[in-house]
Symmetry: C2
Subunit: 348 residues, 2 copies
């Protein structure tokens, strides 16, 4: 298809030229990283995907002859591990883009373990903290042009060592898109890309994870207005076996670029009016609201002592507006979007 | 003094010309309002103060020959009562100003009663909802010029009818200011105005309520950065007697205009640079963060079924920015403000 040029196939193999394949030095040392553990394979995979995505986005600034590039901050965490935060700001095409990886380990407090138990995990441990490991990539891209949607994705691997020595592990994540103006072809392309990837693993995944996404990104106090047109969202995935789960997560993450970059390419040079820009900023106000009021990941991060707040809040829009009592005509493009946000649609 | 012209002395007396003294028709009917109850006196007082403040702010737009005025929304609540939300947007002097009153009554759920008990109120009731009445005024003013601070205040009266028929009542509220650039004279004037009002009632009030304010408007996850330079904040005030409490709340609310409007007058015509505007918008990002992540009133409102969300969120800034990793020189005016936000100062 014409989209073949966007295909990404980032693998978890340790690269021959790590300096060129990663945005910064890995968090874990090289010897450990070259082992065949799921921890190492996940870290290498997200390091490489981070590089690939940052490059794809920078390419658009380069095309515009803009000098703006990703700023790379590698940070470590006293309690164990660290991360690499890459942020590009004030681009011509991307007003703000953040691509963050983190690989952290240490002791997980009782309260967090209880929340996981409540979600269905069966641990032997009671009232004791446990060793954990978490590696993940998360990203939010806010384009300048209101005709290019915002994208967010996040894929993560989690391990918890129970008191009996058993390692509980699972994967989670998702990709979702937030357009300011509805382009049905683009929405279909985005959802179809996700569905095709899901279908390779389990025919029930797409519809289940699509619904999960619609339910999660819901601003309940705004009469159940969704943040965007959804995508997929899942957590606690540990079936049918670890190799399949890891393979599925890689496939989803490899779908980010082909599902999104063609939409950027198609729309970033569209002209737009000040009213369209205004609407984009109002919608970004809602984006900020969701992230600050409702997003579990953000809330968890803000409550975590020693967390790197700047990395957590890189997801916030560069500029947002709030206007009291705005109104649009029933048949306006703005209200067409609102309708879909209030009643999520089946796109494929 | 030169500030005498800003003196406000709004009273709780039902006015001869209600149409000219209120922004809209009162929530409660006229017969009830003319009674001498604390409920009626509070409602009349906040109706009149709302009008006075809206006029003071509109005066600046009129002086600029700007046509922008307050939009008045009177709303009612199915469960009982209602409110008047007044918002002025896109003014030359005031980018967004909201002045909201609400007078609501109905049944207070068990959970809310338990929160009040936890704060020290002694109710006979157990596991039952109770009749409540609440009347309050709240306001946020976001001026356009970065040399004019944002102000917020809120004064409220609460009644709860216990199962034994006893009426528990208390007052709460506060006024606090959020400058973008520190002007020591203005900060002193603001705090001194509040202190003089407090001192008329109790010599311990100002220092106690100033500390309460510094502790409340604290963004803990931003290394304990305060939202602004504080002011006063108190809750559950029911001592020494109701007449004194109501009188104190009226005095505090009557201090809003003389403590703030002279600062507007002095600074609104100052020139400012794009960098100063940028800094204002970054600080407004923090303002939005505090309100959405931490403010108890906002959180309570967003969780209340049937609440008027647009009135609750009128406090959000018209425009806000988030920038990853901004830095300023140690001796810059921006860092001078940051220092005071991280270590609240005694201004008087």
């Amino acid at each position: 298809t014409t989209l073949d040029s966007f295909k990404t196939d980032v693998s978890e193999t340790y690269p021959d030229k790590p300096l060129e394949s990663f945005m910064a030095e890995p968090i874990t040392n090289k010897d450990l990283l070259q082992k065949n553990s799921y921890q190492a394979r996940m870290e290498v995979f997200i390091l490489k995907l981070q590089k690939q995505l940052c490059q794809s986005l920078e390419d658009y600034e380069i095309k515009q002859n803009n000098q703006v590039r990703f700023k790379v901050d590698r940070w470590t965490r006293e309690e164990g591990g660290g991360g690499i935060t890459c942020v590009m700001q004030d681009g011509d095409v991307f007003e703000k883009a953040g691509v963050n990886i983190s690989v952290v380990h240490g002791k997980l407090p009782v309260q967090a373990i209880e929340q996981m138990r409540a979600r269905g995990h069966q641990f032997v441990a009671r009232n004791t903290s446990l060793d954990f490991f978490a590696a993940g990539i998360s990203s939010v891209v806010h384009p300048r042009n209101p005709h290019v949607p915002t994208i967010h994705f996040n894929y993560r691997y989690f391990e918890l060592v129970d008191v009996d020595g058993k390692i509980h592990w699972w994967y989670g994540g998702g990709t979702d898109m937030t357009p300011y103006y509805l382009n049905e072809t683009d929405c279909k392309h985005f959802h179809l890309s996700l569905k095709e990837t899901c279908d390779k693993y389990d025919n029930s995944y797409y519809s289940k994870f699509k619904k999960w996404c619609d339910d999660y990104f819901n601003i309940n106090y705004r009469s159940n207005e969704r943040r965007g047109i959804g995508g997929i969202f899942f957590d606690d995935l540990n079936q049918p076996d670890q190799e399949s789960c890891f393979s599925f997560v890689k496939a989803c993450a490899n779908t980010v670029i082909p599902s999104y970059i063609p939409i950027v390419k198609k729309n970033y040079q569209q002209t737009y009016t000040t009213q369209e820009r205004e609407w984009q900023l109002l919608r970004r106000g809602r984006y900020a609201e969701f992230n600050l009021v409702l997003d579990r990941g953000t809330k968890f991060g803000l409550q975590t002592p020693g967390a790197r707040i700047e990395s957590i809040l890189m997801s916030l829009p560069p500029v947002a507006k709030w206007k009291y009592g705005w109104e649009f005509k029933d048949d306006s493009p703005e209200m067409k979007l609102m309708k879909v946000l209030k009643e999520p649609k089946e796109w494929v």
